[in-house]
Amino acid sequence: MTRRLPRFLTPVMTLGLALLALVLVPGLLGQFVADPEQMRLMAGGINAPPGHDHPLGTQNEGRDLLTYILKGMPNTLLIGLVGGGSAVLLGTVLGMLAGYVGGLLDGVVRNTVDIGLTIPPLAILIMIAASFSIVTPLMMGLVIALTSWMHPTRVIRSQVLSLREREFVLLLRLSGASPLHIVFRELMPNLIPFLAATFVNAVATAILASIGLEVLGLGSFQTPTLGNLIYFAIIGNAMWLGLWWWWLPPIVIFIVLFMGLFFVSTALDTLANPRLEQG
């Protein structure tokens, strides 16, 4: 008497979760063991290669890179969660209402989304970041959400549209169910794997956008983030000076993180749409 659910922990999902854990565990807990003193100017030698005192070496101002990474990762992750989370939240509410209620609301939402999708978010983000100064990861996340809610809205709306045509929604209306009940109690549970996949993708998009801004030098430099680290490495000519310990670790972390998110979202997609399983 169980629901027919495909197995949750598929190999792809396991791989994705394992890769995420590899980043998330040190990323979330490392900040508590890191010594803030090591972030100070001249905490170690200048451009010191990895060694006993500085496992990931130091940069051109003598700051310890491991400490910077441990302090920066929570900020990067926060940007992703806030950016992706708010975009999906906004997209879910707008997409569900537009899809279910239809009419004028749907027309406005659909057209706004269609136009918004053809405007590259980075173009708007650059203008925003060049005009205002973004100081906290929270702000960065919210600003990114402003430019990335269109995609979640669009995909959730189309899912609701296809569900709405199903006969079970007609039957619920005949059973006296209110629109709110139908949208949130009946349609929503059907969309959970789908929403989860959308959320994971939105987190990846938000982190991607934040690195884009930070690499352009438009990040908030008061707070350490991995994107800022790469920007400083580029500015500090780390590449040409052969200081691989400066730029390589954040990139490796990003690669592991993005692959983890990618595998998890692929696995969630399969869960939401079992037809993809073959092939």
Partner: protein, 330 residues
């Protein structure tokens, strides 16, 4: 004079598809369901005849472009509050695809409980479980085999009967059934049809049975309406319409239906006038929609849409052949 339960008068409905297409689903359909005497009214038509649109209009899920739909004399579009609840309680439905009529994330009884919760008074709530079990038993379903099951664990026939039980919980006066057996295997189809008949005979529930299948209509209906391209072309008591069809379209339709008997095989190919050239279709736009396929077509049929006329078989047919003085087909 008593007020009819449901009346449609001269209902029109069209849909626009894309930039250019406009599909006229219904073009002036009238019918009424009497309140006092239970009956099964079959609306039969091919795909594209507008029969499903008619069902959606009658349930209040669509509103007509022109014409009126009334429930006990009140316009359906204007129903609010208690009047709307009364309408929902009195006019229920079952649908074509029983597998899509349940929310896959809940057990099948979820929607039965929901129906009771939304429609019954506090005093009735206590007996909810008993009422659900009774309704299932009335559909010859064992509650123990159904309750708590998810949709994919039951057969199409069982699911359709659970849906019948759900409608029956409300003791409606009319159930609108759009192709309720077309997706159910033949060997289980009879059970659903028998249930429908039983609900009429034992519990006084009327049916609007919407189907493309005249063979099943034969088994249960009292009245038969034939729909062709959005218009009723023939109407009357079921047996008379099927045994002595008066409209050329109905005649063709019945000839085309295979009989399940190898000794009753088709003798000659169907007399088929498939003149669907663009000129013919355009010419017939203001006249009879069946002109392009009709073996008896006359110039007159291009000029006006034939109204429903009385026939010798005591039915009505929308064909000029039944105008007083016209030469009738053999």
């Amino acid at each position: 004079m008593s007020v009819d339960l449901l009346t449609l008068s001269d209902v029109h409905k069209s849909f626009s598809r894309g930039y250019r297409n406009r599909v006229d689903a219904l073009q002036g359909v009238s019918l009424s369901v009497a309140a006092e005497r239970p009956q099964i009214i079959t609306i039969a038509g091919e795909s594209g005849s507008g029969k499903s649109t008619l069902g959606m209009l009658a349930l209040g899920f669509l509103s007509p472009d022109a014409g009126e739909l009334r429930f006990r004399g009140q316009e359906i579009a204007g129903l609010r509050g208690q009047a709307l609840r009364d309408f929902r309680q009195s006019v229920q439905a079952i649908f074509q695809n029983p597998f899509a009529t349940f929310n896959p994330v809940y057990p099948v009884d979820h929607v039965l409980r929901l129906t009771l919760r939304n429609f019954s008074t506090g005093a009735e709530q206590a007996s909810r479980e008993t009422r659900i079990s009774d309704a299932l038993r009335a559909m010859h379903l064992d509650p123990a085999l159904v309750l708590g099951k998810y949709p994919h664990q039951l057969s199409g026939g069982q699911l359709q009967r659970v849906l019948l039980a759900r409608a029956f919980l409300l003791r409606p006066q009319l159930i609108i059934a759009d192709e309720p057996v077309s997706m159910i295997d033949a060997s289980l189809r009879a059970v659903v049809l028998a249930n429908m008949l039983e609900l009429k005979e034992r519990h006084g529930i009327s049916w609007l049975y919407i189907t493309h299948d005249l063979s099943t209509a034969r088994q249960i209906s009292d009245t038969l309406l034939i729909l062709y391209r959005g218009r009723i072309v023939e109407a009357g008591p079921m047996e008379r319409v099927l045994d002595a069809p008066q409209h050329p379209y109905t005649q063709l339709l019945i000839q085309a239906i295979p009989r399940p008997d190898p000794t009753q095989r088709w003798q000659a190919p169907l007399d088929w006038q498939g003149d669907e050239s663009a000129e013919t279709v355009t010419a017939a736009a203001s006249g009879c929609a069946f002109y392009a396929r009709c073996p008896f077509r006359m110039d007159r049929c291009l000029e006006a849409v034939p109204p429903l006329l009385a026939t010798p078989a005591d039915t009505q047919a929308a064909c000029f052949l039944h105008e007083p003085g016209a030469a009738r087909p053999g």
